[in-house]
C-alpha cells in the first residue's frame, strides 16, 4: 500500500447524497479476478447514456474538463450498500486518493482505508462550503495534523481517524501484515476456546 501524508490538489465535486456502491461501480463490472482497471467504469451509469461510451453525459462532474484533482468530494452517506471493495479500487484506479463527505458507510470506509484511500469526514456545513468553491480552488488534506483546508478562504476543519489506521496510512502498512505478525497469539487463542 502506498503511504499517504499530505495532499494539496483541486477536487471533483459530486453533490449527491446517499451515493451507493452500485453507482460507484455497477455490479456488471465485478466479474474481474484482479484489482486493476475498474477506474474507467467509475460512476459508469452517471457518465454515459445507455451504457454507450460515445454518449457522455455532459453535466456529470467526471465528464467536465474544468474539474480535476485527486480529491473526490461527495454528498453525505457516501458508499452505502454493497460491500464490494471494487468501489474503492475504482476510485483509486481513477486517480483519487482522498474522498471527502459528511458521512461514510462503514464497510466502504474500511475498504477505502485498506487501499490507501483516505475518507475525510467533515461537518455538513464545511462540506457545503467546499461545494460553493469554484473549480480552481485547491484543498489541502494533512493526515498527520488531521486537518482539511480550503485554500481560497483559509477555512479549515479537523477530521477524525483511528490512530492505528492513521499510522498504517502514514507508513503504507496493511492490516494483514500486522495480523500475520501475531499468528502465535491467534493460535494460543484458538487452544483457549477449543
Amino acid at each position: 500500500m502506498k503511504a499517504l501524508t499530505t495532499i494539496t490538489d483541486r477536487f471533483v465535486p459530486i453533490n449527491i447524497e446517499n451515493i451507493d456502491t452500485d453507482q460507484i461501480i455497477p455490479a456488471r463490472f465485478l466479474k474481474a479476478t484482479t484489482k486493476d482497471g475498474f477506474g474507467k467504469n467509475l460512476f459508469r451509469d452517471w457518465r454515459y447514456e445507455n451504457d454507450d461510451e460515445s454518449k457522455t453525459i455532459a453535466h456529470f462532474p467526471l465528464n467536465m474538463s474544468q474539474f480535476d484533482g485527486e480529491i473526490l468530494v461527495a454528498g453525505k452517506n457516501f458508499g452505502c450498500g454493497s460491500s464490494r471493495e471494487h468501489a474503492a479500487w475504482a476510485i483509486l484506479d481513477a486517480g483519487f486518493s482522498v474522498v471527502v463527505s459528511s458521512f461514510f458507510a462503514d464497510i466502504f470506509k474500511n475498504n477505502a482505508l485498506n487501499n490507501g484511500v483516505l475518507p475525510v469526514q467533515v461537518s455538513d456545513e464545511f462540506l457545503q462550503k467546499i461545494f460553493l468553491q469554484d473549480n480552481n480552488t485547491e484543498l489541502t488534506v494533512d493526515l498527520e495534523k488531521q486537518t482539511i483546508t480550503i485554500h481560497s478562504t483559509g477555512e479549515h476543519e479537523n477530521f477524525e481517524i483511528n490512530p492505528y489506521k492513521k499510522t498504517c496510512l502514514l507508513n503504507g502498512y496493511d492490516d494483514i501484515d500486522f495480523l500475520l505478525s501475531i499468528k502465535e497469539d491467534i493460535q494460543k487463542f484458538e487452544t483457549l476456546i477449543a
Partner: protein, 466 residues
Amino acid sequence: MAKTLFEKIWEKHIVKTIDNGPSVLYIDKHLIHEVTSPQAFTGLNNRGIKVFRPKQVVATADHNVPTLNQHLPIKEELSRLQVEALIKNCAEHDIELYGLGHQYQGIVHVIGPELGITQPGMTIVCGDSHTSTHGAFGAIAFGIGTSEVEMVMATQCLLQSKPKLMRIIVDGELNKGVVSKDIVLYLLSKITASGATGYAVEFAGSAIRSLSMEARMTICNMSIEMGGRCGLIAPDEVTFEYINGREFAPKGEEWNKKITEWKQLFSDTNAMFDKEIHFKAEDIEPMITYGTNPGMGIGISQNIPTTETINENDKSGLSKSLAYMGLEQGHAIKGQKVDYVFIGSCTNSRIEDLRMVASFVKGKKKANDVEVWIVPGSKQVEAQAIAEGIDKVFEEAGFILRQPGCSACLGMNEDKIPAGKYCISTSNRNFEGRQGAGARTLLASPLSAAAAAITGVVTDVRELLN
C-alpha cells in the same frame, strides 16, 4: 456487569486489543463466493501462504450463476471464469465448495443457516454486505471487503473497532397481510438508509419474537440497508428448533452443551444501549418503496411523499429519485403498472417465502403482461418446493420457477430487468440500475409481490386476502 447480546459474543472473540486502536476479532466461520474472493486468493498466493483454517471456510457460487439450465456451461465468459477461479482456488486451498450441480449450492446467506453452519454465539463474515442475515441466530455476522477476506483467509482474524449499540424494539401484533419484510421496510422508512450506520442493531420485542427463523433472517438481512454494521436477534426455542438436526448442527452430547451456552445469549435486563427505538407492530401496513434507496418506502395506502412531507435525509434526493423512477410526488403508489415480478434473493427466497406465495396464488393466474420470476435460494429450497408441489402451483399461475442464485437482485447474471421497466421485487436494494441499467425497482414483501403478479399493478394485498 450487565451486558448486551452483542457484547457477550464480541468479548469472547477478542484475541487482543491494540492500544488506541481496533481489536483483533477471531472469526468462527468464513463464507466465500465467486465475486469477492478471487483477488483475496491472489493476495495469499503472492505471499506464498495457504488459507490458515480451511475447515472454517465454506464456499458457494451464487452471484453470477445462471438460473436456467445450470447443467450447461455458463455462457457469459467473465462469469464462467470467475466460477472456474473459485473451483480452482477452493481445490488448491482445501476449502469445501458447494458449487453448481451440488445439492447444497445456493445463495450464501440461505445455505449457511439451512445447513446448520450458522449457529448462535458465532462470529461469521463473508465478502457480502448481506452477511448480516446470519445475525438472526444471535451471531455477530457482517459483510467485509476483499482485503478483509484475505485477512481472514490468512489469519482467521480481522481488525475491528467495536461499533455502538442500538436496540430496535417492535412490540405488538402484526396486522393481516403484514409480514417480516414489511416490518423491516417500515423500520427503514422511519430511521432512513443511514440511521444505523456505526451501530450493531439488536432487534427485540414481542413482534420480533413471534417471527419464525426465516422471517427473522429477512429482518437482519436488511439491517445493512439501515447502514448497520450487523443485526442480531437473541436466540430462543424457535432458533434451537430450527437448527436441530441440520447437516452441520451439533449432535448428541455436543448439542446439549451448546444449548446450555446458547441460552446465555441475550441482553441482560440492565444492559446499556447507545440508542433505543420503539415501534408498534399495529402501525405497520404492507410496505413498498417508491425511490432509489431502501429507506424511501411507504405504506401501500399512502401517497408518495412531497418535498414538504419527506424526511430530511431524503429531501435533496427526492426529485432525482422520482425522475429515475418515473413517479410523481404526492401521487398514490397503488395502481402503478408493474412489468416484472421478482421473488428471490437472500432476503426472501426461502421455503417459507415460496410457501407464502404459493398459498396466495393457488388457483389464480398471473396478469397477462407481467413476467414472474421465482428464484429459490438454494438447491434444497428448490427440491423442497418441488416435493410440496409448489412448482405445480406456480406453473398453473404462469410463474416460472428458476434455479438458485442471486439472480435479478443485482443482475450480475442474465436475469436483468430492462431499462425503464418496473419490477416489484422481494430483494433488498432499489438503487439506480441495481436490477439492470435503467431498471425501476419497487421493494416489497413476497405477499405484495405475488398480489402484483396477479393484478399487474401495485396492489394492497389485504384486499385480496379472505
